[in-house]
Every structure is written in C-alpha cells, then in structure tokens.
Assembly symmetry: C2
Homo-oligomer: 483 residues x 2
C-alpha cells in the first residue's frame, strides 16, 4: 500500500511546518556546508528499502543528514556564486505542480501547463520591457538554453544541415564568438553542438570593464570570413559570472548583422535587473538579438529550476526542435503552442505554476524593491572597500556583485605596486577561507586576469544591510589575521 491522500494530508502538514521552521532557523545554520566528502553517503547508504518507513524517520534524516549536508543558499549570510533564491511564494506553486501531477508532452496532455506558461512568459516579457515579438519558454537552466540557442544558430547558418548530412557534411566551418569572460556553459554548448573548440573565438575584452570589444569582434569575424569560414553565432553576456561585466549588446548585434550571425544574449543572473527601469540600459539593443536567456531562479527568486529562453523566430526554433509522432497527435495541433518543440525534453513539469504563484503572491513591486535593496547594498560595500586602505574594488559594479582584493602592506613596494603576485593569491585564498570557516557568511573566490579575487555576490532574499556589514567586518578581520 502506497501513501494515500489522507496519509499525505497528515505528512504534508508536517512537511510544511518543517519547511517553515527550517527557513526560520536559517540564520543560525553554518552557511557553507561543513561535511566531508562521503559523509552524507556513509550516513544514508545501505540496501534499498523493501518495506515502508515511517515519515518521522525520513524527516529525522532530513534534519540529521541533509540539512548539515547542504550549503545554505537561502541564508542571509550567503554571498557566494550567484543568488539562487527559492521564494516561499514560488515554493507554494511548486507544491501545486507536484500535487497536480500534470504531464507536459503536448498541449492536449495539459492545456493549462502550456497556456499558463504563455501567460507568465508574457508577463515577464512585459515586466522586462522587451518587444512583443519575443516568445518565451521555461527551461531547466541557462546552460540548456544556451545549448538550444547554439543548435538553432547552427541550423540557421547551415540551412538546416540536420535534414541532410548534418554538421559533418558542411563545406565551410561554422564559427562561434564569445567573451573569454562568458560563463563556462558557453564553450560547453559550443563543443556539444559540434562546432569544435577550434571554431570558438574568445574575443578581446576591454581591460577595465571586462566587456567584449565590438571592434575586436568585427575583426575576428572578418578574418574568419576571409579564410572561408562562416561566422554563425555570437554569445553576448550581460552580467558575466566573474565580475557581472556587460557586453555591449547593441554593438554586438550590429556587427553580427553584417554576417547574418545569430546573437544569443546570456543574462542568466542579470536578467532580473531588466525589471528595474534604471538598469534597463544595460540591455540596450537586446531587441535586435535572436535569443535571450535569463534565470528567474537566480536573483528574482523563483525556485529552481526556472530558466527562460526567449526567441524572436519561433518558426525556426520549432523547425529545428520539432517532432510529430502519431501517438502525440491531436485534433487541435496547429492551433496551439507545443512546447515540446521549443527545447530538448519532451515531457515537462508544470513549471509555470511556480512563476505564476511567485508573481501573484509577491507582486512585482515587492520584487523590485528587494532588487533595489541589493543594488544599494552592493554600492555600499564597494564604497566601503574603495575607501579603506589596502582594499581594491577590481571591476565596475553595475549590479549586485562586488569583486574585491586585499593587498597587505608587506606585498607592496613604495610605489604601491604589488611585489609578489603568488603571495597575493595565497593571501586572498587564505582570508576568504578564514571568512567562510566562521560559518556566518560564505563567499567565493575566482580568477580575474589570472589572479584570485573575492566575489561578494549580494542578493539572497533575506540579506539585509546588517548582513553585508557583518560580511565586511569579517572580511577585514580575516584579511588582517591572514596577513
């Protein structure tokens, strides 16, 4: 006998209370998980369960093993990687999705799954001030969205080579362009799409802003075209992972147009900023791009996995991605949107519900206020660091991420030049580790121009100014102690 609706009712109430209690005690939990490799596994492994266990025992294991085994992304002290907020409004929507158990394979299998997705992707298009031509769909991640973009770019540049001999029969190599600051998913998508690393050009960036240099892009494309290669696609990053650098989309679009190359805009983290009119200029020219991805599951706060891919030419997208087996046909085909033809998976969850609940229960106004709070906190931190001797802000702060380095006095010569870059790297990694070991906050290090820096990425839903002040105090203490 499997779990019945009435048993679910009892256990579900306990689960809800457990979640509410977990969220309330987040500030007291170590932010970075402190378990050792294999520790969680050792605590849980054994033969597969043959007989039903009590719900209380599973819940106890959540407390005993799982909670200490995760890094607390939802904590006010979380400043690592990028925000990945799981707003409780969206959690309610995800509960509805799981409980309904709808199956998104065709429109007919769940008309509401399709049409609520149309409603919410249109809402977000409007909230972002995007042109009405854009049509969106929910994917699992910006990695998948970028991969889809590379596939449709490949098929456009090759005149639908998939219907013939594939990429392997193309006479001239197709080439893709991106910033060296682009996310790791970009080269991964280029390689998986079959272009090959030899046909990926990493275009020079402005050394001060880390933004792609459109003249360097133009020159690279001209070189390839002159050599008989085909410029097929450009990925413009708005808000790179390292420093939230902003590639100049309008200029990229203009250069790409000279060669008919597809432009994909990767704004996985920064996309949320399109909701703020004062940030919208970072996306100037985006309506000239061919595809645009951003993740409400990051800063906006719709629980994972909620990644949006907008395209302007839906007909080309579905030409590349569609299938039409007899067992999926219905009388309304042709009148309806078939999201199976918009991406890689056939079967899809009802993910639109979490966006729908999130936007309706929280409202755009409150979400904007939270994003502005985070921008303000980032500005405050950058100002503090900029005004404090020994500290450097390494890149512009257009969004909510501040890139810091602390240079001890002993590593500078009288002119202020750093004398030992290896020692500086060691110092950076040491103080970051010291901060993280406190368990009170968590930030991550990354390489910039080949040297380690500390990234402070602000934007967890409960993070207030006082939490950023705590981080800044801990960073200064740790930098001093590590010196």
């Amino acid at each position: 006998m499997t779990v019945t609706p009435e048993e679910f009712r009892v256990a579900g109430h306990e689960m809800v209370d457990w979640i509410a209690d977990f969220r309330l005690r987040l500030p007291d939990l170590p932010v970075r998980s402190q378990v050792a490799p294999g520790q969680v596994r050792a605590a849980l492994e054994g033969p597969p369960p043959e007989l039903p266990e009590r719900f209380a025992d599973v819940l106890a294991d959540l407390d005993r093993v799982v909670v200490p085994g995760i890094t607390q992304i939802q904590s006010p002290g979380y400043f690592a990687w990028f925000p990945s907020n799981a707003s409780l409004a969206s959690v309610l929507g995800d509960m509805a999705s799981s409980g309904l158990g709808a199956l998104g394979i065709t429109w007919q299998s769940a008309p509401a799954l399709t049409e609520v997705e149309e409603v919410v992707t249109d809402w977000l298009r409007e909230l972002c001030g995007l042109a009405p031509q854009w049509r969106g769909a929910i994917h699992d991640s910006a990695s998948s969205a970028c991969f889809v973009a590379m596939l449709v770019a490949r098929e456009r540049a090759s005149g639908m080579s998939g219907e013939r001999g594939g990429l392997q029969a193309e006479p001239a190599p197709l080439v893709v362009y991106a910033s060296p600051q682009a996310h790791s998913s970009v080269p991964k998508a280029v390689l998986l799409a079959g272009f090959g690393r030899d046909n990926l050009r990493l275009v020079d960036v402005d050394p001060a802003t880390y933004a792609m240099d459109p003249e360097a892009l133009r020159a690279a494309m001209a070189r390839d075209a002159a050599a008989g290669r085909v410029p097929a696609a450009v990925v413009a990053s708005v808000g790179t992972t390292g420093t939230t650098a902003v590639d100049p989309v309008a200029a990229v679009v203009e250069v790409a147009a000279e060669y008919g190359a597809w432009v994909h805009v990767d704004a996985a983290m920064a996309g949320s900023a399109m909701l703020l009119p004062e940030c919208r200029h970072l996306f100037d020219g985006v309506d000239g791009a061919d595809s645009l991805s951003w993740n409400p599951h990051k800063w906006l706060g719709t629980v994972l996995d909620t990644s949006l891919l907008y395209v302007r030419d839906v007909a080309h997208l579905t030409d590349v991605m569609s299938t039409n087996p007899s067992y999926l046909r219905s009388a309304v085909d042709g009148e309806v949107t078939q999201y199976k033809d918009w991406g890689i998976p056939l079967g899809r969850r009802f993910r639109a519900l979490k966006l729908w609940f999130h936007l309706r229960l929280d409202g755009a106004e409150a979400i904007r206020a939270r994003l502005r709070r985070d921008l303000d906190n980032a500005g405050w931190l950058a100002a503090q660091a900029g005004a404090t001797p020994g500290w450097e802000v390494l890149a512009p702060v257009p969004l909510q991420t501040v890139c810091l380095r602390h240079v001890p006095e002993r590593l500078r010569d009288p002119s202020g030049t750093v004398t030992d870059l290896e020692a500086l790297d060691t110092h950076t990694l040491a103080w970051v580790e010291r901060v993280n070991a406190t368990g009170r906050v968590f930030l991550t290090a990354a390489l910039l121009d080949g040297r380690w820096m500390a990234r402070v990425s602000i934007g967890a839903e409960p993070t207030e100014r006082i939490d950023v002040e705590t981080l800044w105090a801990l960073a200064q203490e740790a930098a001093q102690a590590a010196d």
Copy 2:
C-alpha cells in the same frame, strides 16, 4: 514584503489540504481535459501583477481554471500515452526539495544533493539487478538522456572531435542506428547532435514483434563500413512507445561490438519492469551496453521530472561534459562526484529527494505489487479482446500496454480480410474519440504499419481491475455505436 515563513506555514497547510482533496476527487473529474485552445489563457491573462494577491484567490483560480485545464494523468481512468505517476510519497520529497532551496552546481554547493543522488541511483541499480559498474544520474527526461548518450557516442567515435574542429572537421561520416519504432526523441537527438538525417539508419524490425532485427543491423553496419562511413552508435529500445516492443539487447550489443559502436538502451517506460525478476529477461544483455535510460517518473511513479541515465564509462562521459571554471573550484575537487559534468545543465534541483522519499515511504515491495497488478490487468484485457469477435490484439503484450483494433463485420470480406483500410482508420479514430468524449477514461490512438490503432496503456497508480473493466465495456459500446 514577500511571503514569510509564517505566511508560508498557513498557506502551505491549505495547499496540502487542496492537494489531498484534489487526489480524492480525481475519479470524478473528466480524464481528458475538455478546454478549447486559448480558453485557459483567456481566463488568466492580463497585466503582470504589481501588488500581492490573496492566496485564496490563487487557489480559487487553480480550481476554476487549472484543474479543468489539465488532462488527469493521475486518474484511475487514464490509459493514454504512458503512465506518468506522481506518487504522493515522492510529492513529499519534492516539497522538501523546494523548501530547502538547495543549489546543485558543484559538490560543495550541496554535498547532500550529490550524495543522496548517488545513494538512490545505487539503490535503483540494485533493485534493477544491474552490474555494479553502472553509475547513474538524474536528468529531466529520457529525451535529454538520449541526447547526452548521442553526444558522448559521437565524441567516442570521433576521438573527441569537440576538442579540435568538431564534427564539421571529421573525415568520415558517423552513422547512428535505431528501430523505426524508436521514440521520436531518438531521431531528434541524432539530428541535434549533428549527425544529420542522412546518417540515421532505421533498421528493419520483425513484422510480428516489432523488435529490431539484429541481422538487419549487422547488414546495415557492414554496408556503411564498406562505404567508408563509421558506425558510431545504436539505440536499442526496450518497450517502444507504439507497442512496447523489445529490441534484442544482447544481440544488438554483440553486433555493435564488431564496430566499436556505442549502445544506448532507451527503456524510458519499461525500465520500471527491471524491478520484477519475471520481466528481467526483457533486458538480457543490458550490462554490455554503454548507456541506459529509464524514467522513474513514468510507471514507477516518482513525480516528474525524474529520468535516470546510467553509464558504465563515467570517465568518458565527464571528459565530454565537464567544465572547470575558477569560480566553481573547491578544495575537495577530485575526491567527489560533480554531477555538473554528467549532463547538460550546470544548476540542478535536489531531485534525488523525491526518489529517496518515494522508495523509503512506499518501499520496493509495494511498488512491485502495483507493477504486477498492472501487468495482470494488461493480460486480462488482451485475453478479453483476443476472445471477442471483431477485436484484434495487434502486438505482443510483454508489459502493460495493449494495442487494439476493432474491425466491423461490414469491413471484412467472407475470408476475413479487411476490405477498406481507410474506412477502418475512420472507424478506429471514431470509437476512440467516442470513448474519450465520455470523460470517464482516456486512451490514445497511434499508427502501426501505417494504420491507426488504439493503445491502452495501463499503469496509473489508482487504476484497478474494475477501471480496466470499465474501459473495456466503454470500448465495446463505442465500437458498436461508431459502426
């Protein structure tokens, strides 16, 4: 102000009750959604919500618009496509996942997300009687899993062409083989991976069983090899979508080995049957394949999206799929599993929890009993149809799907031969539609050998013998009435 933990506690309890009530009233809901194209959208669209709405209003819209707008996959009267069970045990696990808000990007971001996934994929490997060499990961769908398999097969056959000029620089075309009965995601994966339709061979099947003919596979590979092409991969389907035909995996593996071709076994639906020793023979030879995918989110009943991809050569998989940007590095890299390098997305939900809850709360024994009930029901229906004049069972019934056709007397000549195949198609589609229009059950039609048939796919969690009896009575009535 966004939804707080205490507000979530109140709303979450309502949501749980709503889900329990929804599951209880499922038998009374029309199985196939009766909404018209655009109806859901029209009921919900409008400007994006600026201010928070009341939870009660969102819940009311769920009842008013969303429930009538989905086909009730969880209903006892659901016999369409394939089962897609959302067991309530797994729903509890999915609630935990959403509530925790963990972020799976690296092991460090959520060690438990990685290690619980190792535990549950090992449990399922054991329950399926697979060799210990197999290592599994959770993907969103068998489509994605098959696509990953095609990518790693491509890179093996090409000696990692991605690190050079990609597929476009390969000297000899790589070829993929599959059954014409393979799922639509197979040709889609082959095309997306860049092989091209010209390099996809649909291998002849046995006309009685619809299983791939291994001698035809051998001949096709020999022809390609003789012409200078490279047999790169074979997809063997265990449980095709049309008729649950079973390609002979052991023979396919043997033929593929002659050319070093990758063998991917697609058992999206049928994989659950590996839990039953009496069905395990359908998978004979599977331990010689290179990759195997099956979906616990189908018959087994772990709520969407839970698709497993097992591989034997993890090192090759991660060679193809890995990235290692500085911002994701940690001190334990090398000691731990990094699931980001096992598939397409970087950021992943904590999907292992729904499998973990499902197996622990229901137990394997009860799950097996349910699968056996469904097999027994399919056998019963096939026997009924086989013994009833005018009805034909069109394919073997190795699992839970029965392929039926009703041939009216007026469409047979005295020797029993069908005189008008077009009229038979019209009749089939008419009676299936008539059954579905009752709202009490839902089954789907599909083409077999170019002619329409009715597929009765048994396996919704609440479907008992009495529901199959209802379906069979409705089918007979409808076939008579449509005549």
